[in-house]
Symmetry: D2
Subunit: 131 residues, 4 copies
């Protein structure tokens, strides 16, 4: 996330927002933000949202996600809002909306539904992928 230039905008129990300003390094050939960037911040927002409801000594790991890419990311800033739909002892399910935000409007750019595994820290040290 740091590499992308993303920052945490909100961290509350069950909800995390991540913002990403436009940069040429993340642009695709039409000058919009690359879908890979959209996917990355949605995945992270969901992972961190899950983490806010995870007990100490446990870590999270996305096991799968589905994303619908609804509109091109033309706005100067993307904001991914991840929210926990159900937190379980073993699995947590999160929904993220990614908005393209400008001074005058915001538009829904993508939606991601994620299934996230919750497990004792370290047990998956050889397996985990970063959130």
């Amino acid at each position: 996330m740091a590499t992308l230039g993303a920052s945490l905008e909100l961290v509350e129990p069950g909800e995390v927002h991540i913002a990403l300003p436009f940069s040429l390094a993340l642009a695709q050939q039409h000058g919009y933000m690359h879908a890979g960037a959209t996917t990355a911040i949605a995945d992270s927002a969901n992972g961190y949202a899950a983490l806010t409801l995870t007990p100490p000594g446990f870590e999270v790991l996305a096991v799968e996600f589905k994303i619908n890419l609804l509109a091109p990311a033309k706005a100067p800033r993307l904001v991914a809002r991840g929210r926990v739909l159900r937190a379980g002892r073993r699995l947590t399910v999160c929904l993220a909306e990614v908005l393209g935000v400008s001074d005058v409007e915001s538009e829904l750019v993508a939606t991601m539904l994620s299934t996230i595994s919750v497990r004792p820290s370290g047990t998956s040290s050889a397996n985990s992928r970063p959130q």
Copy 2:
């Protein structure tokens, strides 16, 4: 893809393979390839596979995908094998397997199922995202 260091390994009608060697720039904290890299090459392999069955004057655009992350990407090389399940005039559906490949073995790392829109080139120039 070029930025990631990925290369086309196979291009046949309905099937495209993309390889990605391990690099520190794509590694996460445990030293394995980042899931974002896995997702990116699976998405690209499916998009290019769809393109091989698309008539001249048409372009492709992923509208949604689902990925299951099955195992950590520990191998020195990832190969995404995208394959068309059904090519339509408006929508093409593709399935990708991502394998972690070493000298001695290969392991299934991820699977992606993608729905791809097929449309006249240029009509979506303001909307397209790169494959």
Copy 3:
């Protein structure tokens, strides 16, 4: 839907609610509503929601969906709330929540994200599946 005993509870532009009372015919071995019933009403709520924003002479057809089954359907009544996230000329994306509803509480039972094709009526008469 009629066969299942389902009924329309709300029809507004971009949003449709479908209710399904518990019945023994739809129960599984533990006495709860079968996941197939949950899936069916979520799919229908999304399809009808898409239809409310579709111009005359066009019909809708789900091309894919993903459902997360979050909790057992123990409640005496299920309500699926389908909502359009983005309506396009060719594709519409909808999100449904299925709630288990009793006199005292309601609980999120499932969430479905659907991609729905919009096409001139009759062109897909040989292909369509019912919503």
Copy 4:
């Protein structure tokens, strides 16, 4: 499954096939098999495939699935072929193909990718949904 008239065609470690003959009770308005039937046998084939690799004393429960509906189910018989992609101690991932089969040909009708929870029998008796 029995209610639908489905039958097990193959049960091997990691792979299960379920067949469903056409019946008027499962038809939609165009006379083809209803997508709900397609979904049900794909879900069951994946669940049973997971079960073949599950140790005694454990049960399976689908936590989510995604299905792409590729073609109308016109054939006199549907066959769902569920296969384990990765069997884990807590989660198993399966892929199903649903084929429309006639005397002269077979056609891919749908594909489903499922995430299945594996847990000690009885612990989820209040939660399980049937496979």
